[in-house]
Amino acid sequence: MMFPEDAPAEGLKKGDKMADFGMRAADIEKGKLSGLVWLADFVGKKDSKDPKKLLVLNFFANWCAPCIAEMPVLQGLYDKYKDKGLMVLSVNFRTDAEKFDATFAESLKIIKEKGVKYPVLFDRFTNRNQLLYLGSKAVLPCLMIINSEGTIIEKFQGEQSHDLKKIEEVIRKTLEVK
């Protein structure tokens, strides 16, 4: 396991093993937090029947307009490839100055507006886990593709994150979709 203090300043990169943390998922319909989920539970290695499982791990902040803009696109990818073994997760990032309750309420509003159905995760206590992935400068948007072994096979950050064509290409290749 890697801790933020051990992570490189640019955050986890392509070829690194993912770091595992538990966070609370949002119950979008009821508008509240639900149970704890762990990132590693969404990678394919634990499910031998679905070895091609692929995780798209996306980070967003309420104030990050490009992050919010790509939400419907990610929902589209999820709908298109979920039967092939794709999982999409979004993790909320907030700065130390942002209060959790207000952030959560606003995020719920955005999620509903954008029609997000895939799990969206929140950490009430810390942003250190997110910084581990994003790097100390917390450049957003940030999207990672993680294979069934828990290895980061692609990382798209900042402007790269808009290259949705390339993202879909990686998904199709890894899931062996013709």
Partner: protein, 428 residues
């Protein structure tokens, strides 16, 4: 002829051996369950636990149980105790039980720590007058405690060893957090110090690394400031914090004081399954100086480490020069105000000190030997309160009264007997 003698000898041996075996099997152990003491809890709860204890022991093969109530009815124990002028001490009870030919005395005490009840039970060997097994069980209510009595009695009577829930395997790496221990009936600063000791002790165990208290406190304070989102119980919150830290396990607990009994309760929690994987409960009657030794022992128990080989030492000094000391099973006289012992198996020990000088009260207390540690203490033996007839104020008052009375009498006598010089003397 030799063959016949040999056959008889074999038969005699077999018959004798069978008889011995039968006698051993049918030998019934006589136990006495003393009244369970209610320390800061309802007397009915203590009574119900005593009944449950008697019921469980009574159901077992080769045991015969006598209750304190039965004993009192039969031999008027109270009267006996009073005659022996040793009310309230284990030693006295042992003497009483001897008269009843009971081998083992079982005594218990129930206290409350926060929302949980702690039921401590121990055995006293009547013959050797030593405290045998001790065990504490923890429960939310009477039924919860009752459900755990069987397992506790199994351990007390040596039927089974305490169930160890978690054991750190060789080569296993465990990174964990120790959450600040909750203080119950004592200062939070004491609990915070014990949290630090527990963290440091766990950190010293091979394979365990503990994340810093500063990190945890920073997160906890942020949580307290930051969110009013639902967090229905503390366990849920603690598990969530552990998950945020990316930890598979963490330690929570409380430390409390109920009357003169200290209780340390710590749990090892599996964060992923939100499950308690090991639970340690240490309770003792004695000085708060022993808390740090008790928590060090608890650290090893929590990690499931075999600490028997990590023997410890004690070095006690007393404020009396001569007397007798009983430490665990050992009893000896001392003519220097000091007692020390080494090579001790870590655990809780019973210490009794009796000064040769009759002006001091006997001292009975629990002390701990932590794994690989030396317990150095200065133990103060209290002097007996001075009887009123020996006190300075009594003699001062008496002197004043006596002198006053003497003065008054003298004055009265002098006044009455002195001629006033106004009489008439007639000379014929």
């Amino acid at each position: 002829m030799k063959k016949i003698i040999a056959a008889f000898a074999v038969m005699f041996f077999l018959f004798h051996a069978a008889g011995e075996e039968q006698s051993a099997q049918s030998k019934t152990k006589k136990l006495l369950v003393d009244k369970v003491e209610a320390a800061g809890v309802e007397a009915n709860l203590a009574k119900s636990l005593e009944e449950a204890l008697v019921l469980d022991i009574g159901k077992r093969e080769n045991t015969s149980v006598v209750t304190s109530a039965e004993m009192q009815n039969v031999v008027k124990t109270a009267q006996l105790k009073s005659e022996m002028s040793c009310e309230g001490s284990d030693e006295c009870l042992v003497e009483v039980q001897k008269k009843l030919s009971v081998e083992t005395l079982i005594s218990g005490k129930v206290t409350k720590l926060g929302d949980e009840y702690i039921f401590s039970i121990n055995t006293i060997n009547v013959t050797t007058k030593t405290v045998g097994e001790r065990i504490s069980i923890q429960g939310r209510d009477l039924n919860d405690l009752k459900g755990k009595i069987k397992e506790a009695v199994d351990v007390l009577l040596g039927v089974s060893k305490p169930r160890q829930m978690f054991k750190l395997k060789d080569g296993e790496e465990l990174k964990l957090a120790v959450m600040p221990l909750t203080a119950r009936g004592m200062e939070q600063t004491t609990a915070d110090s014990l949290t630090s000791i527990l963290s440091a002790q766990l950190n010293q165990i091979k394979g365990i690394s503990v994340i810093s208290q500063d990190d945890i406190k920073a997160m906890l304070s942020k949580a307290a400031l930051d969110s009013s989102a639902e967090c229905s119980d503390s366990m849920e919150c603690v598990v969530e914090i552990g998950a945020s830290l990316g930890l598979s396990k963490l330690v929570t607990g409380a430390v409390g004081k109920v009357k003169d009994t200290f209780v340390i309760s710590v749990q090892l929690i599996d964060v992923r399954n939100a499950d308690v994987v090991n639970r340690v409960l240490e309770s003792y009657t004695g000085d708060d100086a022993e808390l740090q030794n008790a928590i060090k022992l608890a650290a090893y128990q929590l990690a499931g480490i075999d600490y028997q080989a990590l023997t410890g030492e004690v070095d006690f000094s007393f404020n009396v020069k001569k007397g007798a000391v009983r430490f665990g099973d050992e009893e000896k006289k001392f003519d220097k105000p000091q007692y020390s012992a080494a090579g001790l198996i870590p655990g809780r020990y019973f210490l009794k000190v009796r000064a040769e000088d009759d002006d001091y009260l006997p001292l009975q207390t629990d002390v701990y030997v932590a794994p690989g540690a030396k317990n150095v203490r200065t133990i103060n033996i209290l002097s007996k309160p001075t009887p009123w007839y020996k006190s300075w104020w009594f003699w001062t008052l008496t002197s004043v009264v006596v002198l006053g009375a003497a003065g008054t009498v003298t004055a009265v006598v002098l006044l009455q007997d002195t001629p006033d010089g106004s009489g008439t003397v007639t000379i014929e």
